[in-house]
């Protein structure tokens, strides 16, 4: 997807920017009385947001206390209250302060997700709850500033790039742990660590694909390679672990994988990302999920396809969150729709978790697979419309 000619992408960028500017221009030419009305409406929306943020902070404060006291029952109840509160005014926030909206979502969502688990990760929750408190502080004092269209798009790309870098960091860490276990010959431990590394890769897979040979080296399945003797990467080790039940001779693949993943990270750091590529990448992730994950083809030995699938969706969601401010200028209804669809998908995925881990792909019934495919196709139909921001 990134192989499109640089020139046409560049031209489109210029177009996109001028179109966005035109949208803003329209808005400014509104009549005086209308403008006054709009301001009145805006100030009441601001009040609603400030009130919501304060209330949410109060609940979050209780959550921090409960986390201190390790009171799981209370933590779970408060996680839900926070989410309910947020849902009650998030639309107003998205509308007025799209950047802060994504910031709050970034911390709120994992808090809620953890709170639905039998054994929530308390350390992670504490970290997120502290950050949430800060984000809500910002929200309470936020002033709506007219953002220039070009800035919105640049900002979207920057936000997404930050996300990709963060994932690449995690990928290197998780792969280092996984490959260490492989080299130590510890099959059980390696099996435990494998999904952790896969998540970070699958979230940013399209980016890796843009570096030509790196994706095949890291992520090829046996039938993707011409010569099975030259097969390397995650799935090579997956086969050793789950099919051959032996790590003999795998050290060299482990070393290679770690070095490829580090190489990927280095390349990402110098990557110049364009908005078109970012939007296309989000679609590619959903297509991936719909073509090779929901069919159980990707992880054919370990059957952790649901891990990959949810990582693909999360990667796509990261793009969605990055483009919210820009999309807010173009199509609010679409934002609303995407918000609902991602939420629905998340809820669906939660039902496939047991003890904090996704269940084996082979445990899914035909109907469940169909249901997942359907949800993905709904998501990707809506997501394909985000290209509107490219004007």
């Amino acid at each position: 997807m990134l192989k499109k000619s640089t020139l046409s992408a560049f031209m489109a960028m210029i177009l996109a920017v001028s179109m966005l500017a035109a949208c803003n221009g329209d808005k400014n030419s509104a009549g005086q009385t209308k403008q006054e009305k709009t301001e009145q409406k805006a100030s009441s929306a601001n009040d609603e947001i400030k009130k919501g943020a304060s209330q949410m902070q109060a609940i979050n404060k209780q959550l921090l206390d409960a986390l201190e006291a390790k009171d799981t029952a209370k933590i779970k109840a408060l996680g839900k209250s926070i989410n309910d509160k947020w849902l009650s005014f998030e639309n107003a926030v998205r509308d007025r302060f799209p950047l802060l909206y994504t910031k709050v979502e970034k911390y709120e969502q994992p808090i809620f997700a953890e709170s639905t688990m039998a054994h929530p990760d308390l350390t992670g929750m504490r970290e997120n709850a502290r950050n949430l408190q800060q984000a809500l502080d910002e929200l309470k004092t936020a002033k709506a500033t007219a953002q220039k269209a070009s800035e919105l798009l640049d900002k979207a790309v920057k936000n997404y790039k930050d996300y990709v870098l963060e994932q690449a960091d995690h990928l290197v860490e998780a792969t280092a742990k996984f490959t260490a276990a492989v080299k130590a010959g510890d099959i059980e431990k390696a099996k435990q660590l494998y999904p952790d590394a896969r998540v970070y890769y699958e979230r940013i897979e399209p980016i890796a694909e843009s570096f030509g040979d790196l994706d095949p080296k890291i992520d090829a399945r046996i039938d993707d390679v011409d010569d099975p003797a030259k097969w390397t990467g995650f799935h090579r080790l997956e086969k050793a672990l789950w099919k051959d039940h032996s790590l003999k001779g795998q050290a060299k693949y482990a070393d290679q994988l770690l070095s490829d993943v580090k190489d990927l990270k280095a390349k990402i750091q110098t990557l110049k990302l364009k908005p078109e590529a970012m939007v296309a990448g989000a679609m590619e992730l959903l297509n991936e999920a719909a073509i090779s994950k929901v069919t159980g083809e990707e992880e054919r030995y370990s059957h952790i396809d649901l891990v990959d699938l949810s990582a693909n969706v999360e990667g796509s969601q990261a793009v969605y969150q990055a483009v919210i401010p820009a999309l807010n200028e173009h199509n609010k209804a679409l934002l609303q729709e995407l918000d609902t669809r991602f939420r629905k998908m998340e809820e669906k995925m939660l039902t496939y978790k047991s003890n904090g881990r996704y269940i084996d792909y082979t445990k899914l019934s035909k109907d469940q697979v169909r249901e997942l495919s359907q949800a993905l196709s709904e998501l990707s139909k809506s997501m394909s419309q985000t290209a509107e921001i490219l004007g």
Binding site: A12, E276, V279, R341, Q374, S377, E378, K381, S382, S384, Q385, A387, E388, L390, G391
Partner: protein, 412 residues
Amino acid sequence: MSDEPKKGITRREMLKWTAAAGTGLVIGASGLAPVFNWMEQKGEARRTHENAESETVAFHGVHQAGIVTPQQTFVYLVAFDLSTDRRSEVIALLKNWTVLAEKFAKGRLEKNPGNQWLPPKDTGESLDLGPARLTVTFGFGPSFFINDGKDRYGLAAKKPKHLKDIPRMPREAIDASKSGGDVCVQVCADDKQVAFHAVRGLINEAVGKATVRWMQEGFLSVPDGKTPRNLFGFKDGTANRSLTSRSAQETHLWCGSDEPGWMRGGTYMAYRKIQMFLDVWDRSSIKDQEDTFGRKKESGAPYGKKHEHDPVDLQRMPADAHVRLARSTGQQMLRRGYSYTDGIDPKTGAINAGLLFISFQRNPDQQFIPMLRLLSDKDALNEYTKHIASAMFACPRGIKKGEYIAQALFEG
């Protein structure tokens, strides 16, 4: 489609036919003309589209198109299950479907967005192919009104009187996953690609609101002015001739004042997917084959008579002959089925093929179900067939200009 005349037909003849078929269709479908002549199907009409008008079946009318419309060459039958609980979303879907169906019936495509980064609105494969007499016919299944005992959209009070699933029949082997459905869309056209394009567009439109439960495709070649044949090689549809007059259609086909308003001028569609064991059939003697129906294979003449449309003398037919049994019920219906083939049976290697039996009638409880029961019990045909899917849908009256399909159901 090619503009070259085929099968030795001159271009002039072809144009003449096309024009004749065109006017007949448009008027017939809108229900203004008292008569459409079922037998005057012009198979060649599909061979050109330089005169798009003659290839267009009127979309608006008293009755829905695709019922008394002379049969096109291809059908797609798609059953949807609604995935939304919201009445407003159902209405939105029906509105969008109506707009699309009208567009496709006129051979038009959706306009694509100017933004090249967005996916195209129209999938495009029917560009330049013309309308191909495309029709879209909508129907609602019992589960559209009441599902798991729940009045889903507050429409239970307006459920048509005779709408229910076809009850269990002897000998059948129904696959539930390929039966029933909340909404049925029948798309017919003389060009398969044109039909498919419409189906694809309607399915894409439904994403998020309805999912495809099952989909079937069929074909039927109609020789000029003659009755088409099914895969057993017999003329199928002979008896439809008795439904050509307006008054016969009012009597047997169109629902009247005993039904809720939105169904007056509508009808019920009964559907059975019937597998036909072609290999068994092809090893049967001509006599056995003809005894099965009580009609001659080549001419279609009833036993004891010379011509296809000679009056039927039931006493001359074997007691278990298909036509004798069907006629003995005293009921009539409009049969509008299509043949299907579906690869081979992986176990036996035999061809999977049969009939998508589709019939329209105003009262299935009286006209269809008793006949089906009798046939399932006694029909000589049963030796060569198996019923494998089943459904019943209520097809609303036709769409007036500016309306969406079944608007009177929601707003009446």
